[in-house]
């Protein structure tokens, strides 16, 4: 009955609100940004591996080849760094010590994924790029589980 009186009172004179929230100030987190960057790394890796160097002596073709190769490498480098950054934001800003209860391997997963970002920069390795995407898929699962939401994994490519 008292609860009903309070509700009535609130209708007449609404109480000011106080936040016991996390949504307002927390910002928006989603592993999708890391996934898109990792997909770009995989795509660039495949493109670099598929390049055929021109015949020696053809200067114009040689320059065009180098230009294309340099661009692919630059994009791979940049996107791998972006993926690492997005992962670190999730790791250090979104996840809290309490999440370790449900995801005890959380640190291992992020460490592994961040290292794969570096390895994708250091080499042209399709396996590593695929592993990075798989690691982000695992993080995607852990992330949405922590939010008690079912969000299917998909890729743009």
């Amino acid at each position: 009955m008292f609860d009903r009186i309070l509700e009535q009172l609130d209708r007449i004179s609404p109480a000011p609100e106080a936040q016991a929230h996390c949504d307002g100030p927390c910002g928006v987190y989603d592993p999708a940004s890391a996934r898109i960057a990792a997909e770009a790394v995989l795509s660039m890796t495949k493109k670099i591996l598929a390049l055929t160097p021109p015949a020696p002596g053809d200067q114009a073709a040689g320059i065009a080849f180098l230009n294309t190769l340099a661009r692919y490498i630059a994009i791979k480098e940049e996107q791998a760094e972006l993926a690492k950054h997005d992962l670190l934001v999730l790791w250090t800003d979104y996840f809290k010590p309490d999440h370790l209860k449900d995801a005890p391997n959380l640190h291992e997963m992020f460490w592994k994924a961040a290292k794969l970002c570096s390895e994708c920069k250091q080499s042209v390795n399709e396996q590593k790029a695929s592993d990075l995407l798989k690691a982000i898929q695992e993080i995607h699962g852990m992330f949405w589980k922590s939010k008690k939401r079912e969000v299917p994994w998909y890729t743009a490519a």
Partner: protein, 118 residues
């Protein structure tokens, strides 16, 4: 059903009638299970005029960066150097001192002294 704490809280109800306690509505789930989304509470704005908040107190405090935002959180430990750490009871659903650091005591606006409804 009148909550049992209302009997203990009767003096606060009298003080509320006298305008010495403020009624507030809680939004969010970070103080569960004690306070749920929509709970009404009474706040004593004068609670910390003579003493500092103690560990375990539930307080109303201004958000350090979003000044219009008022937070309901629990004092995590004894204040130190005029600053205090605030943490939500349901840690995984809370944005608190673990994110934004300790809060100046001057931003603590009062103590939640009574829960009026669940």
């Amino acid at each position: 059903m009148v909550h049992r704490s209302l009997i203990r809280g009767f003096p606060h109800l009298v003080l509320w009638a006298l305008g010495r306690r403020a009624r507030l509505r809680v939004r969010g789930t970070s103080m569960e299970p004690w306070l749920s989304d929509g709970s009404f509470v009474l706040v004593d704005p004068r609670a910390y005029r003579r003493r500092a908040p103690r560990a375990g107190d539930v307080v109303l405090a201004r958000h350090p960066y979003e000044r219009d935002l008022r937070l309901v959180k629990r004092v995590a430990s004894e204040p130190k150097d005029s600053r205090v750490a605030l943490v939500g009871d349901r840690a995984e659903a809370s944005h608190d001192s673990r994110d934004f650091g300790t809060v100046p005591l001057a931003d603590v606006m009062g103590q939640v002294v009574l829960k009026l409804s669940s």
